[in-house]
């Protein structure tokens, strides 16, 4: 959508010159988790110990480990057990997710949109990893890419709150600019957080079909994004199959109707998993 055409008098400079100072740094715990996740010398026990220092991260890890997608026969009661169940990469992803939530999803006046971006990111991550599993792609990479695909959105909303006088008066214009710019701002943030370059490329291209170095991951995220949207609109399985089949990324990912029917059967499990993590009422002690 052309923002300038939609709102010719609206100055969108606030969204185009975000510099390093505007991009939030990761909390110490998350920085440490990222380092340890790629350090073969670090043990899972060390990682669990670091995670236990951040109550928000620890709580989210416990919720995810006990969610429908990951729970085993016995409930998980310790952080160490949870870490064992989820594995190093998932711990890293949850730490990044919580950091994103605590630092980014606080834009005053846009709390609903910011909160929605957080829950939507988690559901997109879950769909992306299921898609990657079926496409024999990189499952771990897909989860993190889905999780963070819209991370530019709350960041831009925060910038709008900080830089525009009375942002509530030009709400629609702000949301249009956010829709247009969030992909590149998200990619910038990934680079600042020293996350893998392929992730930054995926985020940059998740709304276009341009060939890029991340291969089909951008299309995987685009389809997962739409599946998450459809779940939020509470479409039933039949409608979800029809909508997914019609999505342009489905053909580019070579997904036939049979494949989509199989994929969509995961809907209830994934929605329940996302709900278990993001719904405080279900927080494990």
């Amino acid at each position: 959508m052309d923002v300038a055409a939609a709102a010719p008098s609206f100055d969108s400079a606030w969204a185009t010159n975000l510099d390093a100072a505007d991009l939030p740094v990761l909390p110490d715990v998350t920085e440490q988790v990222l380092r340890m996740a790629s350090d073969p010398q670090s043990s899972l026990q060390d990682l669990a110990q670091v995670l236990s220092r951040d109550a928000a991260i620890a709580a989210n890890i416990m919720r995810l480990a006990n969610s429908p997608l990951y729970r085993g026969r016995e409930p998980i009661v310790t952080l160490h057990q949870a870490a064992a169940r989820l594995g190093t990469m998932k711990l890293r992803d949850v730490a990044v997710l919580v950091a994103s939530e605590s630092r980014l999803f606080r834009a005053r006046g846009f709390e609903v949109e910011a909160r929605q971006a957080f829950t939507h990111g988690l559901l997109t991550g879950l769909w992306a990893q299921e898609l990657a599993r079926r496409l024999r792609g990189a499952v771990e990479e897909a989860f993190l890419a889905g999780l963070l695909h819209d991370v530019g959105t709350p960041l831009l909303l925060q910038a709008a709150c900080d830089r525009i006088v009375n942002p509530g008066s030009c709400r629609d214009q702000i949301l249009l600019v956010v829709a247009q710019r969030h992909a590149s701002v998200g990619a910038d943030l990934c680079r600042r957080w020293r996350l893998p370059e392929r992730l930054a490329i995926t985020l940059l291209h998740h709304h276009d079909a341009l060939p890029n170095a991340a291969g089909t991951m951008g299309e995987t995220i685009a389809l997962a994004d739409d599946l998450a949207d459809a779940c939020e609109q509470e479409l039933d399985e039949q409608a979800l199959v029809a909508r997914t089949s019609a999505h342009p990324a489905a053909a580019r990912l070579n997904l036939y109707d049979d494949d989509i029917v199989g994929l969509v059967r995961m809907k209830d499990t994934l929605v329940a998993t996302a709900g278990a993590v993001t719904n405080p009422a279900r927080t494990a002690s």
Binding site: S38, G87, T88, A132, R136, V139, S245, A251, Y256, D258
Partner: protein, 496 residues
């Protein structure tokens, strides 16, 4: 439709031959039928032809192998002066960066060959229907269009995929198969490979060469049971030198996630754990989506399509070739060509298998064989003489730092016919073809002594092995000693 003579009635395309599957078998069947003047449609599920071997099997794993070998060879060829160690955070994608170009080049070549042969290529998924009958197929495209096709002959060449055992959950995240192993973001520190066949052996040795701590587990006592024992010994020695460990004669009871790693529990109570597990316990035919039951065609207990020596299924106008009929997988191309002729009403000879189909194992080190091994000849009651050549005795072998390799040239007891060749070492898969041609041409081993070959090349190994055969035959003639079963030292100890 570009296919010659194809007709398009109201809602149905009529062709002489429809080939289902665009791997090596399907592609060659389509080209061969077209060459005989038939209108041919080839339907493949993927947007480009090539089959699983191009996108998920042979080509990506061989590209990774080349990278691993190049890193290893830097040290060997510089006599240890230069050593390269991969950083701990090496991404697998960075080691596979050439794969996309290799696959694209391969797909371009195959696409061009099909266009040149006027084969109409359709991107879609095929199924039979009870209403359509056994001469009709329904093609659903990925863009939700439906095409009805009627054909006189149908060739099923849909290939295979990794088998998922009931007791092991392959989640493609912690427990992977050969289709998903190369999508791992990072090189694991430790890897357990389940299986002892070609795919398991290739990946186990490639990852070991890249510095991953690998344990390979199989229920057979040794890997690659179909290969000559000495060749397998040489492989196990090299695998062990790279830090790999083979555990044979064990069955996996279950696989579970524990403490951030995967644990594999075996029938003897032992437990092994690793960052990731590769499950390479065979392959299964891709036939489910065809809905063969609707036309009364079934598979055997192994899920394979049964065919006669002309590749005809129980419905004679439907042929099947390649992995859907089982081993030998490497015969797909030859099978495809023959099935293409059968589809044109031309009887062919040769059966579904051939002892002259070479086997190549792209492990580290590379292994290859064609024809009879010493043991197989013995089991068939054929007297042989075996010529040996160590790569360390060839100039090229030493230059290429491939001294550990060797060749066994199996000849008839009179030394007049080449019966088989087994090779281990760099270039083995190429080298075996010379022996294969000698077998096909009925040439005696002495041809490798009498004819000139480029020097220095590994062809010198044939000359050395042929001279060994000649010497043994000469001694047998002079002394009457049966040299079969003796090693070199014992042979040379016999006075002439």
């Amino acid at each position: 439709m570009s296919a010659a003579n194809a007709t398009n009635t109201a809602n149905t395309i009529e062709v002489d031959v429809v080939v289902i599957g665009g791997g090596p078998a399907g592609m060659h069947a389509a080209i061969e039928a077209s060459r005989h003047g038939r209108s041919v449609m080839l339907v493949d599920e993927e947007p480009d032809v090539g089959g699983a071997c191009v996108r998920r099997g042979t080509i990506p794993s061989k590209t990774l192998r080349e990278t691993a070998m190049s890193l290893d060879m830097v040290s060997k060829k510089s006599a240890g002066t230069v050593t390269l160690a991969l950083p701990d955070d090496t991404t697998l994608a960075s080691l596979l960066s050439r794969t996309r170009e290799v696959v694209a080049a391969h797909e371009r070549t195959w696409g061009r060959q099909l266009r040149d042969a006027h084969v109409d290529v359709v991107h879609g998924r095929v199924r039979f229907t009870a209403a359509g009958g056994p001469h009709a197929v329904l093609v659903q495209t990925v863009r939700r269009e439906t095409i009805h096709v009627h054909a006189d002959r149908i060739v099923i060449a849909t290939g295979s995929r990794p088998r998922m055992p009931d007791t092991i959950h392959v989640d493609h995240e912690s427990v992977l198969d050969s289709d998903s192993i190369l999508s791992l973001p990072w090189l694991p520190k430790t890897l357990i490979v389940l299986g002892g066949g070609v795919i398991a052996t290739e990946y186990a040795s490639i990852f070991a060469c890249l510095g991953v701590e690998v344990v390979c587990i199989d229920r057979a006592p040794r890997p690659l049971g179909f290969l000559d024992g000495e060749i397998v010994d040489a492989y196990l020695k090299a695998f062990s030198a790279n830090g790999g460990r083979f555990i044979g004669g064990r069955t996996v009871v279950h696989v579970e996630h524990e403490l951030g790693s995967v644990q594999v529990c075996l029938d003897d109570g032992s437990v092994f754990s690793a960052d990731k597990v590769l499950c390479a316990l065979g392959r299964t035919a891709n036939v489910e989506s065809l809905q063969l039951g609707t036309i009364g065609l079934g598979t055997d207990a192994r899920g394979l399509l049964q065919v006669d020596d002309q590749f005809r299924t129980a419905l004679p106008h439907i042929l099947a070739v390649g992995d859907v009929i089982g081993p030998p997988s490497l015969a797909s191309t030859a099978q495809g060509r023959r099935a293409g002729r059968v589809a044109c009403g031309i009887e062919t000879r040769g059966g579904t298998t051939s002892s002259r189909v070479p086997v190549g194992v792209y492990a580290v080190p590379e292994m290859a064989a064609v024809g009879l091994s010493e043991r197989e000849a013995h089991e068939q009651g054929i007297a042989t003489v075996v010529g040996r050549a160590a790569f360390k005795d060839t100039a090229r072998g030493v230059i290429a730092a491939s001294e550990a390799g060797f060749m066994k040239l199996v000849a008839s007891a009179d030394g007049q016919r080449v019966l088989g060749v087994q090779v281990v070492g760099e270039g083995a898969a190429e080298l075996v073809h010379l022996g294969q041609l000698a077998m096909l041409g009925g040439l005696p081993p002495r041809v490798f002594v009498e004819e000139a070959f480029n020097f220095p090349t590994m062809a010198e190994a044939y000359r050395i092995a042929a001279l060994d055969i000649a010497a043994q035959v000469l001694r047998t003639v002079r002394t009457g000693t049966d040299f079969s079963g003796m090693d070199d030292d014992e042979c040379y100890a016999v006075p002439i």
